[in-house]
Every structure is written in structure tokens, then in C-alpha cells.
């Protein structure tokens, strides 16, 4: 199937649009969640959406997406509040609070799911597809709802941008300005449920955690400002979503959700490795370069110290002696220094015992060694 054919297919259009919406909303809201170290709250809320899906179905009596999403939103947000309550009002720590709400709400969802299956309602078919998402079953009408939720979330972020920013980075200062910090924090937390709801159809409740976290973590590697990070996270989310959706359309029978997650996670891996300054690769390079520079400087200053010690600016050092002194082969380093004109590989005068050629500092080498030693002296002081 060519790309043009692919893009003109009705189902695939829907899936791609849905994945893009999901990437957009989870990238933006995930940024705040990750910065506020509430990454795993998204995991808890998405698992906790399952009972809401079932309740929405039971109340509406059909697989009507509106009531299902409303139910998911309600129980997802409720789980976040229960988790806050458990950790604030008892000695349980955050991780236990998260795990308890995640697993118990999910268990309630499982119970309701089997209850619905026992009702023998013909229209319940595939309700458990919300576990892994059912991207292929996305309808145009679903997209309107998902788009509406995304718009609400983005509008809220835009309207309360300054407040959210301050609450994320400096809640104490926000309090001193008289902002309703507790309410803003609850709002930011509960808004993650909006992203979860959009993700239900696309990636399902189980993998939603990564959709919240991954774009934000990837974006963080490339940016230092909240504005850039939010935009980049949205971009990465959208790109990963679209790529994963297209990949599953091209392959036969591979689930869309996992492919979207793997696409976004690959961006994380690439960002962690390659992002300027923060990337592993650059750090490794920096370390190698620093180690090499340190060795050049060591050998150079050894030559200088030997010259000082013998009160002879053109003191000739033997290769073997330098190797022994540093405990490693210094030949390569010395050749490097020679290329930079700091040392010379001079022939010994005829008749002198020992090797035929020895190392001598040039005047540039003496200047350089003095500069290095000065710098070291300054550091010591």
C-alpha cells in the first residue's frame, strides 16, 4: 500500500488523527506531571479509568463513547483524590498510595467488567478492548469528542499558564503571592485524567503511563525553558503517535497502542543519547577528551619538571624513563605533543650512552607547561 493510499483510507485517517490528538494532549499535560514528579500518577489514573469505563457503560446501557469517557474521567480523577487522601491522612508513602489506588481501582474495573459480561448485553462486545485500546475502531464521532477534550485541556493550560508554571517550579513563592496553590495543584493533577481519557481509545489503560511520561522526558533533554519543553513534548507526542499508528496500519495484526508507545520511547532513547549538552554521547566524548587532555598535560609538565630539576631548559628525557614514570606508554602522547610543536624528538650527541634519540621541550612547550602549572596552582589556591 502506498503512502497516498494509506492516508486516504478512512479508518487509517481516523487512527492517525486520534493518535495525533493523544500525542498533543499527553505531551502538554505530561510535561507538568513529569516536572512535578508525578509521573506515575498517570499510570494510576489510567488504570483507575477502567471502572469508570464500565460504570459509563452500565449507566448508558450501550457502548456510547461520551458516557464511557465521562465515567473514565470521573473515576480517574477520583483515584487521584483518593491517593492524595491516603498519603496526606495516614502514614502511607506516595508509592504505596499510588500502588494501592492503581490496583484496587483496576480490580473494581475487572469486577464490573465481569459483571457486565454476566448481564448478557449484546452491545457490550469488546468493552475489555479498553485495556489495550482499539485504535482501529475509532469513529469520526469519537474524534470530535477526543478533539473537544484536547481543546479543553489546552485552553486550560493556556489560560492558567503563568499560575501552572509558578506552581510547578516554586509553590512556596506562588503561595506567598496569594495564589490558590492547593487548588491549582489539584487541577493540574486531575487534568492528567483528560489525557488518560483521550488515550483510552488509542493505547488503552495499561500503556497510558508511558504516553504521559515519554514525550515530556524526551523534550526535557532538548530544552531549558518550560515554553520550549511543552511545545517540543507536544510535537514529539504527535510525531510518535502518528508514526506508531502508520506502522500498525502497514503491519498486519500488530496492536496500535504498543507501537505508539515504542515509537515515543525510541524518541526518548535518541534524546537521552544525542541531545546537545545533556546527551550521553556528548558526555562520553567530553570525558574522553578531558582524560586525553589531562594526559598531555601530565607528560608535558613531567618534562618541564625534569628540566627544572636538572636546571637545563633543553634537558633530554628518555622515552623509557617517561613510560616508567607514568606507568603507561607515552609514545602516542609525545608524538601528539611533537605535532603541536611543544616537544622535539632530538638525536643524542654522538658517543653518549643510552638511546639514540630523546625528548626535549621546545620554548613553546616550556610556555605551555608553565601556563598549565600556573592554572593548576590557581586551582590549588
Amino acid at each position: 500500500m502506498s503512502v497516498v493510499e494509506l492516508l486516504s483510507d478512512y479508518t487509517i485517517q481516523n487512527v492517525v488523527a486520534g493518535a495525533a490528538l493523544l500525542g498533543l494532549v499527553s505531551g502538554v499535560l505530561g510535561t507538568f506531571a513529569v516536572l512535578r514528579q508525578q509521573s506515575l500518577l498517570g499510570d494510576t489514573m489510567s488504570h483507575a479509568a477502567l471502572p469508570g469505563v464500565c460504570l459509563g457503560f452500565i449507566i448508558a446501557g450501550t457502548r456510547e463513547i461520551g458516557s464511557i469517557l465521562l465515567g473514565a474521567l470521573a473515576t480517574g480523577a477520583l483515584a487521584a483524590l483518593v491517593m492524595l487522601l491516603l498519603t496526606r491522612m495516614s502514614r502511607l508513602k506516595t508509592d504505596a498510595g499510588l500502588g494501592i489506588t492503581l490496583s484496587v481501582f483496576f480490580a473494581m474495573g475487572v469486577v464490573l467488567l465481569t459483571h457486565i459480561q454476566g448481564m448478557n448485553n449484546a452491545s457490550q462486545g469488546g468493552l475489555d478492548a479498553f485495556l489495550f485500546g482499539q485504535a482501529a475502531a475509532t469513529l469520526r464521532s469519537d474524534l470530535w469528542i477526543m478533539g473537544g477534550i484536547t481543546a479543553v485541556a489546552l485552553a486550560l493550560v493556556a489560560a492558567l499558564w503563568k499560575e501552572f508554571k509558578l506552581v510547578s517550579f516554586d509553590p512556596e513563592f506562588a503561595t506567598s503571592l496569594g495564589m490558590p496553590v492547593a487548588w491549582l495543584e489539584v487541577l493540574l493533577t486531575v487534568m492528567v485524567a483528560l489525557a488518560v481519557v483521550v488515550g483510552l481509545q488509542m493505547v488503552g489503560v495499561v500503556l497510558m503511563a508511558a504516553m504521559i511520561i515519554a514525550p515530556a522526558v524526551a523534550a526535557r533533554q532538548w530544552s531549558r525553558r518550560l515554553e520550549d519543553m511543552v511545545l517540543l513534548a507536544a510535537l514529539i507526542g504527535v510525531a510518535g503517535g502518528i508514526f506508531g499508528a502508520l506502522l500498525s496500519a502497514l503491519s498486519r495484526g500488530l496492536a496500535t497502542g504498543p507501537l505508539i508507545i515504542l515509537s515515543v520511547s525510541s524518541v526518548v532513547l535518541v534524546s537521552l543519547t544525542l541531545a546537545p549538552e545533556r546527551g550521553f554521547l556528548w558526555e562520553a566524548l567530553r570525558r574522553v577528551r578531558a582524560r586525553r587532555r589531562l594526559r598531555y598535560q601530565q607528560v608535558l609538565t613531567t618534562l618541564y619538571r625534569l628540566a627544572v630539576h636538572h636546571a637545563d631548559p633543553v634537558y633530554r628525557s628518555e622515552q623509557g624513563m617517561l613510560d616508567t614514570y607514568h606507568g603507561l606508554r607515552t609514545r602516542a602522547v609525545l608524538s601528539q605533543l611533537e605535532r603541536r610543536g611543544l616537544v622535539e624528538w632530538q638525536a643524542s650527541p654522538p658517543g653518549e650512552p643510552g638511546p639514540a634519540r630523546r625528548w626535549v621541550l621546545t620554548s613553546a612547550g616550556i610556555d605551555e607547561a608553565e601556563r598549565v602549572l600556573d592554572a593548576l596552582g590557581r586551582e590549588d589556591a
Partner: protein
């Protein structure tokens, strides 16, 4: 008796449920105390990857080697998470949430690809089928024993042996990691062993309760116990009791309502937790509120005693040490003033003579104690 057990499906299911709970509690207690309980969530999800891989290699789903192999996937998750954290570019919680979805996704995709070969579908992966454990049996001597019962029993024994053998070391590594390190106990290694056992338990429990409900059995019973006691061995005892209680009551309710048995057992652990959260003797919400109220009442009595003591024998005594002054000077409303006076006289700290209030020697002693705790001024 053994025959009776093996003929009784209900009993088998409850026993498997209880064993899942007990084995999970044994390892989960340490995870909860260390503040790393979300690792069980990561492990629960990523062993799906391990199980699929092991299945593709050995074409068998159960057996000690399979359990170990799949369990390594859980340890791999933790290792990758810690690796990511050690780069200091990703916070711990984000790292957990990055690693396990990747492994889980790969597991699901492999299931998609080899769906015809692998006898697990994505549905059971998450939910398990504890109601069917009696269908899958192995012959052991003259008996046909459910496979899950066997593997869960073995895992429970293994976990119990680990906890008993290394109780001292685990305790120290949990509560004072630095000291454990200084004593050469290798808390890191111990922790990884614990996680390997957690993963093994997850794999063994997988058929019965699936990847996500397993998390409930690991975290909720120990957390419930944590709300009830400060003693480590009591935590185990309470956790095990909660596991057994959840298994039995969960089974009964699931049968009565015709819903998922594993799900109902997990919900029941949550019910026990709520109970401990609300009604726990010391850390429960009600106990906290009662304690706070008791403290407030005690403070009111102390305030009254000090007020009376300050004006005792002074010229304004007739004006200050009367009930009306409590309203005008301490700004207590009439009901509160009457309440405090009543309680104070019940405790024989004051006596009431008409409108006037007078401290007893006991009350005077209390006020003096408050104003001058070291008793220096008395000398």
C-alpha cells in the same frame, strides 16, 4: 483430608488466592517499607515480556526454569530503571514509567506475532483466571494437584525461607541501609534477591491473577499492616491475615455476585485497607480525630487551670476567677465554658462555689507544673 481438598474446587481456589497473597506479602512488606512499592507494578507488567520470551524458547509455560527465566525480565526492568536514574537525567518515578511500558509493549507485540503458538492471550495477561486453576493439574503420586497450587506453594515456601533466613539482614537493610553497608551486608545484593523473588512470585501468580491484580496482593496487605502496627513481624502476621481474609471473602462475594474471583479478592484487600485506614487503633483516621479531640480538651482544662492560678490571691480574683470571665476574657462561649468547668471539676482540679471557681491543690499543682516545669521558681 488431602483428597477432600483436591475434590473441593472452592477450597482450591481460595487456597491459591491465599497463597498468592501470602507469598506477595512476604516480599511486599519490604517493598512498602522501602518506599519502592511501584516496582511491583513495573515487575508485574514486564514479566509478560519474560513469559513470552521464555515460551518462544522453551515452548513451555510452567516449571522452575520457566519461572526463573521470566522472573529475570522483572529484574531486568529494575536494573534498567536504576541505570536510567543513575544517569541523573530522569527522576526515579519517570524512569519506572518509561521502562516497563516498553518491555510490556514488546511482550504484547510478540503475542500479536505468535498468537497462534502462545497459549496466552492479552486478556488473561492482565486479569488471570483463578477460577480455572483446578482445570490445569499435574499428577503427583496418586493425586492430581492444580499446577498453580504447586507453583504458588513452592514460591510461598521459598519466600518464607528467604525472609526467615535473612530476617536480620533484611530488617537492617530496610531501616538503616547505611549501617547495613558499613557492616558489609551488601544491601544492594539483598534487594536484588528480594526483587528476583518478587518477579518469581509474579510469574507463579500470573495464571491465577494476571499482571495488574498481582500488584494489589503485593502492596495492599503490607500497607494495611503498616497502618496497624510498628513491629515488623506483626506486619507479616497482619499482612498474611489480610491475604487469607481477602481470599475467602473475595471468593464468597464473587460467587454470590457472579463476577471475577481474582478481581473481587483484590477489591477485598482494598476493603481491608480502608477499614485499617479509618478504624486502625493508632494510625486510623478515627483514632487520630479522637486523639486530637482529647488533646484539645486537655488543653482547655490546662488553660483554665493556669488562668485561675494566675489570678489566685490577687486583688482581681473576684472578677477573674468566675465563670463570666471565661466568656469575656478567654473568649469561650457559654457552652464551652460550662463544658470545661464541668470536666475540670470531674477531674477534681477545681471546685465551683456559686459563680466563683477555686483551684484544688491538685489543680494548683498542675498549673504550677505548666508554668514552671523544672520547679526552679518554687525553691
Amino acid at each position: 483430608m488431602l483428597t477432600a481438598l483436591l475434590d473441593n474446587v472452592a477450597l482450591q481456589i481460595m487456597l491459591v488466592g491465599a497463597l498468592v497473597g501470602i507469598a506477595s506479602t512476604l516480599v511486599g512488606t519490604f517493598l512498602v517499607l522501602r518506599g519502592t512499592s511501584m516496582l511491583s507494578d513495573a515487575i508485574g507488567h514486564s514479566i509478560v515480556f519474560g513469559i513470552v520470551i521464555v515460551w518462544l524458547i522453551t515452548h513451555q509455560q510452567s516449571g522452575p526454569v520457566q519461572i526463573l527465566g521470566a522472573a529475570l525480565a522483572g529484574v531486568l526492568t529494575v536494573f534498567l530503571t536504576e541505570l536510567l536514574v543513575s544517569t541523573r537525567r530522569v527522576k526515579k518515578d519517570a524512569a519506572i514509567g518509561l521502562v516497563f511500558p516498553v518491555l510490556f509493549s514488546i511482550g504484547v507485540l510478540l503475542l500479536n506475532l505468535y498468537a497462534r503458538d502462545v497459549h496466552i492471550d492479552t486478556h488473561t495477561v492482565l486479569l488471570g483466571e483463578i477460577g480455572f486453576v483446578w482445570l490445569d493439574t499435574v499428577t503427583l503420586g496418586d493425586y492430581r494437584v492444580p499446577r498453580s497450587l504447586l507453583s504458588m506453594g513452592a514460591m510461598t515456601l521459598l519466600n518464607a525461607a528467604f525472609v526467615v533466613l535473612f530476617f536480620k539482614e533484611l530488617k537492617l537493610a530496610t531501616f538503616d541501609e547505611a549501617l547495613a553497608k558499613a557492616l558489609g551486608l551488601a544491601p544492594g545484593l539483598l534487594f536484588y534477591a528480594l526483587l528476583l523473588l518478587t518477579s518469581g512470585t509474579a510469574v507463579a501468580a500470573f495464571d491465577a491473577v494476571g499482571a495488574v491484580l498481582f500488584v494489589a496482593f503485593v502492596i495492599v496487605p503490607p500497607s494495611t499492616a503498616y497502618l496497624l502496627t510498628d513491629r515488623l513481624w506483626l506486619m507479616f502476621l497482619y499482612g498474611i491475615a489480610v491475604s487469607i481474609g481477602s481470599s475467602v471473602s473475595g471468593y464468597a462475594l464473587a460467587v454470590a455476585w457472579d463476577v471475577s474471583i481474582g478481581g473481587m479478592m483484590a477489591v477485598m484487600t482494598g476493603a481491608f485497607l480502608m477499614l485499617a485506614f479509618l478504624a486502625g487503633p493508632r494510625y486510623g483516621l478515627v483514632a487520630q480525630l479522637l486523639r486530637r479531640r482529647g488533646q484539645r480538651r486537655h488543653n482547655e482544662i490546662r488553660t483554665l487551670a493556669v488562668h485561675l492560678y494566675n489570678h489566685e490571691g490577687e486583688p482581681e480574683q473576684g472578677e477573674e476567677n468566675v465563670i463570666r470571665a471565661l466568656r469575656d476574657h478567654l473568649r469561650w462561649d457559654a457552652a464551652k465554658a460550662a463544658r470545661v468547668v464541668q470536666r475540670s471539676s470531674d477531674q477534681r482540679l477545681i471546685v465551683r462555689e456559686g459563680e466563683a471557681l477555686r483551684l484544688t491543690s491538685q489543680g494548683r499543682e498542675m498549673a504550677r507544673e505548666i508554668l514552671d516545669p523544672s520547679g526552679r521558681r518554687a525553691v
